[in-house]
Amino acid sequence: MSNQLPPKPRTPAKVVKRVIILLAVVALYVWTFSSVNINWERVFSERTLENINRIIPQFFDPAWAETGTILVKMVETIFIAYTGSLAAAVLAIPLAFLCASNMVKNKFLNTIGMWILGAVRAFPEIILAIIFVAAVGPNPFAGVLAIAIGSTGMLGKLYSEVIESIDMNIIEALEASGANKMQILFYGIMPQVLPEFLSYAIYRFEIDVRASSVLGIVGAGGIGTLITFAYLNRNWDEVGMILLVIIIAVTIIDQISGFIRRRLV
């Protein structure tokens, strides 16, 4: 056959880009694997075997006797998450309007709002919790504040996306009929965004239940406090029980919130 395939067209720019990305990735891996410090002798030591034999059976034989204490702390965890996320759901609204380019027609303010929200999001909740524990002492309030601030970052961003996607014609119509700014907000904007705001807030509550269950490790209240005690005292049966309670509670809350969110939208 005389059917020679024509050569594949390649633009030099593309080739260079690919080579650079490839080199960067290779360099990253070389750097990682040459400097990472894993103590293999410890990992594959007799102690590990002993630990496995000791911990795993305990872990899967949860301490039912502790159920009462653990449940009380789990409820506290849910309360922390709820208080924090409700506060965030409200705090995020003004910030979201500030970020939405169709509401505040000032690029500078939009960008500032985005920066605030972005900065907040970059902190893991547990770091916020550390700071608030230092500020208000080791109690649930520190956890609530950490959750509230952390959630505001994400909710503000999601809310502002919702606001930017609304139908502006309705607002034009209201303006044309002589409505003032507040009236437009409550008759034109809120009805459009409220279901999605609620849905996101509930979704964030799901995440917050997960997050607040570990805040106790740094002293910010909730079931995490028990994790630290159980872990320091090597009560693996308690760790197992705590984990079981968290899994069940989180699953139930996910189901309920999923149900409510489906009804909302």
Partner: protein, 266 residues
């Protein structure tokens, strides 16, 4: 005159809607009050005691810039943990993504059990995984990496199986019709459709892993979190704020790079 003629609407909403909304509102507020009272946390306190709080937060300032050089080794360890864990998690998650997508795994029993395992894994907080692995393998990077892998696989499989379920199944019909076997069908008709998202989600999981690996150090699973834990125990707050600021900068930079890369993909 019949009755309907006399009807004048007194409200903008039907009575039933009003009732539902009122009840929902009362429940939300009621539950809020209960939560606030039991946890003794009133958000208003935050604003009332703002001065007090700023004073206390002030202990973190100014950051101890002399401490910066102590941060790098542990910070790099955190990044290394995230890179290794993400890489391994991505490889492990491939078969599970396919098993957890109902259009690829037509066996109902297999699909449902995969989904159930996945949901349970995703409810386990990363830090508890770390606690358990530190217990098993001792303090250090290895425990953290294992915890991150499991955590990342949970997220990645969930996200990817949803993408796979949304693909266009027509091409795979064509590949099957021309005699391709299962693996060829997946490679030729499924993979090209999901590859950009797969890479994008892998980068996203890398971002999450960076954040998570900061936290894992708090329980001894390696990385910069270990440093935070140490300095907090010494009440060395200016050092803590140095670490936190550096983490913040690194997280922002990595998110930005990975965001740029992901934009280029889709």
């Amino acid at each position: 005159m019949n009755k309907t003629d006399e009807f004048i609407p007194t409200s903008l909403y039907p009575a039933k809607t009003k009732r539902t909304i009122s009840i929902a509102f009362i429940v939300v507020i009621g539950f809020y009050l209960v939560s606030s009272i039991t946890t003794e946390s009133f958000i208003i306190n935050f604003f009332l005691k703002l001065g007090n709080i700023t004073d206390l937060v002030g202990r973190f300032f100014p950051p101890d810039w002399g401490y910066v050089n102590n941060v790098w080794p542990k910070l790099f360890e955190t990044i290394h943990m995230a890179i290794i864990a993400t890489t391994i998690a991505v490889i492990i998650s491939v078969p599970f993504c396919l098993l957890a997508a109902h259009n690829i795994t037509t066996n109902k029993w297999l699909y449902n059990s995969m989904r159930m395992i996945l949901n349970i894994i995703r409810t386990i907080p990363d830090i508890i995984l770390a606690v358990v692995f530190v217990g098993l393998f001792g303090i250090g990077v290895f425990s953290g990496i294992i915890a991150l892998i499991i955590f990342a696989v949970g997220i990645l499989v969930k996200l990817m199986s949803e993408i796979i379920e949304a693909i266009d199944m027509h091409p795979s019909e064509a590949i099957r019709a021309s005699g391709g076997n299962t693996i060829q069908t997946i490679w030729y008709a499924v993979v090209p459709q999901i590859l950009p998202q797969f890479i994008s989600f892998s980068l996203y999981v890398f971002e999450i892993n960076i954040r998570a690996s900061v936290v894992l150090g708090l329980v001894g699973a390696g990385g910069v979190g270990q440093l935070i834990n140490k300095e907090i125990n010494f009440l060395n707050y200016p050092a803590v704020s140095t670490i936190v600021l550096i983490i913040f900068a690194v997280v922002v930079v990595i998110d930005w790079i990975s965001g740029k890369l992901r934009e280029g993909l889709v």
